[in-house]
Subunit: 186 residues, 2 copies
DNA sequence: GTCTATATGGCGATAGAC
DNA sequence: GTCTATCGCCATATAGAC
């Protein structure tokens, strides 16, 4: 199944055939249909397993009594690590966002993201009381998410350096961007 | 051709058949092959046209003598507007980032994004001298990009309000997040 | 449970008339 | 330039033996 997840993550639903999945599973095509009624079911099971495997266990962060700023740093670092360690998760999530199937996105929101997002909302309202908590939480997620998403393109943009892809540098940048006053010249 | 762009943006390369494209173009399948040697060429032409249509004409912003902070606000607002006005562009870009074809991403970087990104780098180093310009520029793009990308999911998350999707509210949030000191409680 | 064999249909692409 | 007709292939899915 983990091979199926990987294939769907890399090539998308329409990019993977039952034949490929059968080979990856060391099974004949008919063998696949013994376990799943059709391709859609297989795909949805793959997504479900990939996402719930995470279980997004950031609970130790939320439960610690570290100061909010440290919690933010830990969260950003952990999220970056989860995404970098499991590119399949990142890619599958992007595919699901693109498909934008309302039913499946609602399941995702309720089952996978809801609790973590609530904690992130709390943290946001503590650290950034002058901003709407919802927008602030999305912004934090955006910074992590999109930095990774843009990396394949960024490698060809001016001023790019490989060190900008390291997890520590990204964490430091994102956290200080969020927390430190910018010294601006008007 | 704009119908082809729309189809590819919504369903991805593998999700659209030549037959669909033929119907959309009011042509027979063979008719399509009079103009394009194969499906790949048609797709690449669609991408090219969709992206260069933008030409990303933010030049008036860069050339103005407005203070840097105002330029930032104008840029964020304009980029949000471009993305919201042309969802096909946004979706097609996401598909291209997911495919991560090195050759095509390099073309994209060189032909479409390079000049605008250079301007954004300049602005970033003016406004945020304490941050690496590259990371800062990517962060600005990330905030715009991912807020939109996460909208379909965000609608099912706690604390969501429809007003958070308005272009003015998003602009205000992103700009003030970047420019204003956060009043944090340790 | 897993296989071979096959049904049925859509796919990308082409031939050749007009 | 645009069409109808068709090719060969691969897709999803099923039937039925073992």
């Amino acid at each position: 199944m983990s091979l199926a997840i990987s294939l769907f993550a890399k090539k998308g639903y329409n990019g993977v055939s039952i034949r490929e999945l059968a080979i990856a599973a060391n099974l004949s095509v008919a063998g696949i249909y013994h376990y799943f009624p059709d391709k859609q079911s297989l795909y949805q099971e793959a997504v479900k397993q990939c996402f719930s495997n995470k279980a997004f266990s950031f609970s130790s962060i939320w439960q610690s009594d570290a100061p909010p700023k440290d919690k933010l740093r830990l969260f950003v670092h952990s999220l970056l690590k989860v995404m970098l360690d499991d590119k399949d998760f990142h890619n599958l999530l992007q595919h699901e966002l693109l498909l934008a199937d309302e039913v499946r996105l609602k399941l995702l929101a309720d089952n996978i993201f809801r609790d973590e997002f609530n904690e992130l909302l709390k943290l946001s309202s503590q650290l950034f009381p002058q901003q709407p908590a919802y927008l602030m939480a999305i912004s934090i997620l955006s910074l992590v998410f999109s930095h990774l998403e843009l990396q394949p393109l960024g490698r060809f943009l001016p001023d790019y350096q490989t060190k900008y892809e390291t997890i520590d540098m990204l964490t430091e940048h994102i956290v200080s961007l969020l927390l430190e006053k910018s010294i601006t010249i008007d």
